[in-house]
């Protein structure tokens, strides 16, 4: 057990007794006895104690968001009030989580429109494929990230709810699309 050393010190194990090793050993003992390393550590945390805090105080402060942020979905309308969605069902097809359910029929003016457009937000993985696949920029993902449901089914967003989100945030949505236009 003689070569078993608590502190890693190759010289102590090898039994080297040269002057330099003696000096190193003394230095090591002095360092431990004066708690040198511990005081260095305390100094580090002591400096951090007075440093600027990086906490973002969430409801009052928010982190910066990209215009490409993928949050809650919305269905958009044209400026004349007509809904954009033409029920092509590309989003339904591309959705990897199968969170979108669409039913469609012919309207009186012979255009194809959705009768049902549900997004199950508990299934959605916010990949943004629906937005990418949409030929008319109808389904989009907004910057909204804090919403909740209180009962089962609250997070299944229907067509009316999605259109309402779109109507409410249309200015921001249009601005973000405009900004990203050149990259698409």
């Amino acid at each position: 057990m003689d070569n078993f050393c608590w502190v890693y010190d190759a010289n102590a194990i090898s039994g080297d007794v040269s002057l330099k090793n003696m000096f190193n050993k003394i230095k090591h003992y002095l360092k431990s006895l004066t708690l040198y390393e511990l005081i260095i550590g305390l100094g580090l945390t002591g400096r951090y104690f007075f440093s600027k805090k990086i906490t973002i105080q969430y409801p009052e402060e928010r982190t910066p968001q990209s215009p490409r942020f993928r949050g809650l979905h919305a269905l958009r309308r044209y400026p004349n009030g007509e809904e954009r969605c033409i029920a092509c069902k590309l989003c339904e097809a591309v959705c990897p989580a199968m969170a979108i359910t669409i039913k469609s029929e012919m309207r009186e003016d012979n255009t194809r429109r959705t009768t049902q457009y549900d997004i199950d937000l508990t299934k959605c993985i916010f990949c943004g494929f629906c937005e990418e696949s949409c030929p008319v920029d109808s389904i989009v993902e907004t910057r909204i990230l804090d919403y909740h449901g209180e009962e089962r089914g609250d997070l299944i967003y229907t067509k009316e709810m999605l259109l309402k989100v779109g109507d409410k945030y249309e200015d921001q949505i249009a601005k973000d699309r405009k900004e990203e236009e050149s990259y698409r």
Binding site: G41, T45, Y48, T55
Partner: protein, 339 residues
């Protein structure tokens, strides 16, 4: 002792008066424990670049009260195969000595509940009894993690008790008294007369042993989260857990108080032109308590064998050496430095 209830028989009025004095110590102690947990979270948060709790009340100052209320209303779960009597006795056995030791603490020249001559021995005895609570908690829980935690804690407390006892011997030699009040009086005459100077190594060892004694980081193997979940109190919930928590922090304040009394001159002011007052004592205790939090924010947990090595192979030899050194110096012309 003043008789404030002259119309009552002597024995009843004395008892009432004593109970009132106990309440006057315990209530502020409970409040300081609550706010120590708050400051711990704030200080550690600050040292990690965070803010810590700042939502409940201004600057989060109501946070400890919210925590206490939550714990009070939580259910105390008894593990099916636990020993019910011991399971409930353990937290009581932990908290009782932590509070009882405060009986002999002099807050001021006059302000002491019980001015007994063996005060220091009494405090040592009380802090040692606390280990029973931990052992019984671990055993009564009938859980392997709790049991391992209590074994570790017991071994650690017993080891560091010895080094701690030796450091107190140094203080005894300087003060020639076991009475805490007299130990403080022996340090009168400004900052240069405090026992921290002649006994500096003992002070450092006392403080590190105190950290180990209270099972605080970096000596908190008894509740090593990464290995044994939460140690001896893993099966405790609600108020029973809160009592363990209370005891841990009350013990922290107690050992800091003792360090302030024995090495930092207690209520005596550091400079002659300031009056002596309890404010100095509280400032010194707060200063020492800050180190507890600072250590927790800085040092990683010791390995079990390292703890044992530090206690037995380093602290005990150094304390014995310094005691002999002090004894030797007292026989030389330099003895004035050691009184």
């Amino acid at each position: 002792m003043d008789n404030i209830f002259p119309q009552l028989p002597e024995i009843i009025s004395t008892t009432l008066w004593t109970i009132l004095k106990i309440v006057a110590i315990v209530i502020p102690l409970m409040i300081s424990v609550a706010y120590l947990t708050y400051f711990e979270r704030r200080v550690i948060g600050f040292m990690q670049g965070r803010l810590g709790p700042n939502r409940v009340g201004y600057f989060g100052l109501l946070q400890p009260i919210a925590d206490a209320l939550k714990l009070m209303f939580k259910e105390i779960i008894h593990p099916t195969k636990s020993n019910n009597v011991l399971f409930l006795l353990a937290p009581i056995l932990t908290i009782a000595p932590a509070f009882a030791a405060w009986a002999v603490i002099p807050f001021d020249a006059e302000l002491v509940l019980s001015d007994i001559n063996a005060g220091l021995l009494y405090v040592l005895a009380m802090t040692s009894i606390a280990v029973y609570g931990v052992i019984i908690a671990g055993w009564a829980s009938n859980s392997k993690y709790a049991f391992l935690g209590s074994l570790r804690s017991a071994a650690q407390i017993v080891s560091y008790e010895i080094a701690m006892g030796f450091t107190l011997v140094g203080v005894l030699m300087c003060a020639n008294s076991l009475n805490l009040g007299e130990i403080v009086i022996g340090q009168s005459g400004g900052i240069s007369q405090w026992y921290i100077w002649p006994l500096f190594p003992l002070f450092i060892i006392y403080f590190i042993s105190a950290v180990a004694e209270t099972n605080r980081a970096p000596f908190d193997v008894a509740e090593g989260e990464s290995e044994i979940v939460a140690g001896f109190h893993v099966e405790y919930s609600g108020m029973a857990f809160a009592v363990f928590f209370l005891a841990e922090y009350a013990n922290m304040i107690l050992v800091s108080m003792l360090a302030a009394l024995m090495f930092l001159g207690g209520w005596l002011s550091p400079f002659d032109f300031f009056p002596d007052s309890i404010v100095w004592l509280l400032l010194k205790v707060a200063f020492l308590l800050f180190f507890f939090l600072w250590f927790r924010a800085t040092f990683p947990r010791y390995r079990y064998d390292q703890i044992m090595r530090l206690g037995w192979k380093i602290f005990i030899p150094i304390t014995i050496f310094w005691i002999i050194f002090v004894g030797f110096m007292m026989q030389t012309p330099y003895r004035e430095m050691f009184h």
